[in-house]
């Protein structure tokens, strides 16, 4: 019964944290055996340490699984104007092949002649196979109290199918290499009212927003944290979020114009960050505070 207590305690600490959790890059799940190797200038604070403990307990029973289950049902059900399932959707390894597809995206898709990340590809399939309208899907693409959009559950399901696999985002096609280059430029691009870039917060060790430690996504050891833990179940509000949401919210925090949902810009950024994490093991959908 200690687990009941644990969740109850977290519900309370969630209240405390609520005021400090406005959209941050949550720490990636790390086993106690391999504690985050932080720069000496940034000692792990108590809150972070406590949450790491909690995450460890929760890792094999994350509520993200509930969304995986929902996503699986959505994937296999005939839906949309064309009354089709997504089982013929090609995520890069052939129609209907899910194992390992998530850790190999973003990648170039010849049929769309574009580099696509997982969510962008799933939206593409929902449009081409099921007949949904891209504009409708882009209207309210992020989770809220009242609803979890279908692509969010679908991405969670697809991501779960790559649990424990190595990240291997391809850089063979010219457009994939271009996406990486453009992604890096976007990452370093300073603009907006605060003259910020992604690199302002994620280009150095030991940075933080409020209580939240930020990974240095340009370093080898932290690169995985752009990938690991996403899609993630957020304890605050209990919402499931994907990388599309994370990118959108980082743009908002930088006071940038809102990026298009499932757009090329996001695919390029995700290519840049994903390729940097190549070779590391993806542990599946995560849990965030």
């Amino acid at each position: 019964m200690s687990s009941i207590k644990l969740r109850a305690v977290l519900a309370l600490s969630g209240l405390v944290l609520a005021c400090a959790t406005q959209a941050q890059q949550a720490a990636a799940p790390k086993k106690a055996a391999a504690p985050a190797k932080k720069a000496a200038s940034a000692p792990k604070d108590a809150v972070t340490a406590e949450f790491e403990k909690f995450r460890e307990v929760m890792e094999d029973a994350s509520p993200a699984e509930l969304f995986e289950a929902k996503g699986e049902e959505l994937w296999k059900t005939r839906r949309g104007p064309k009354n089709a399932s997504l089982e013929q959707c090609d995520l890069g390894l052939g129609p209907g092949v899910l194992k390992g597809a998530y850790v190999r995206m973003p990648r170039y898709f010849a049929d769309a002649d574009q580099v696509m990340d997982a969510e962008r590809r799933i939206v593409y399939c929902m449009v081409t196979l099921q007949g949904f309208k891209a504009e409708d899907l882009a209207k309210r693409p992020f989770s809220s109290e009242s609803r979890t959009p279908d692509p969010v559950s679908l991405v969670t399901y697809v991501a779960g199918q790559s649990r424990g696999m190595k990240i291997a985002i391809p850089q063979r096609h010219a457009k994939e290499r271009e996406a990486y280059k453009v992604g890096r430029e976007i990452f370093d691009f300073r603009a907006g009212a605060w003259d910020f870039s992604c690199a302002s917060c994620h280009g150095e060790d030991g940075k933080r927003i409020r209580t939240q430690e930020l990974p240095n996504l340009t370093s080898k050891k932290d690169a995985i944290r752009a990938f690991q833990g996403w899609p993630g179940y957020r304890m605050t509000g209990g919402l499931m979020h994907t990388l599309q949401w994370r990118m959108n919210d980082c743009f908002r925090q930088q006071r940038f114009p809102e990026p298009g949902y499932a757009s090329e810009t996001i695919a390029d950024l995700l290519t840049y960050m994903g390729v940097n994490a190549n070779g590391q093991v993806y542990k599946g959908p995560g849990i965030k505070r």
Partner: protein, 103 residues
């Protein structure tokens, strides 16, 4: 209708370890919506688990349990291949029962 639970039951050392994830709002009734109106309480009040028709866990829950609750417990007895049934009932009378096979 409520979404299905995820139940994992693993036999070890003469007992069974059960892990359950439930999809539920667990609304406390203390919060207000954007318009300032209270959001009505909606939470699981009772959880029970049975194995071979015998109740192995029965719990009364309140609003202090988080959204999408996770519950883990052990019970003695139980063999691989046998079934375990879990039921929750919430304060609106909604009910959900799911079954899992012990691994």
């Amino acid at each position: 209708m409520a979404d299905p639970m995820r139940i994992r039951a693993v036999a070890k050392d003469g007992g069974v370890n059960v892990k359950i994830l439930m999809a539920h709002e667990m609304e406390t009734g203390q919060r207000k919506d954007g318009a300032g109106k209270p959001i009505p309480a909606h939470f699981i009040q009772h959880v029970s688990a049975s194995w071979q028709g015998k109740v192995v866990l029965s719990a009364n829950w309140g609003t202090a349990i988080a959204k999408n609750p996770f519950l883990e417990f052990n019970f003695k007895g139980g063999q691989k291949g046998e079934k375990i049934q879990v039921t929750w009932t919430d304060n609106k009378g909604d009910k959900r029962t799911d079954e899992a096979t012990i691994n």
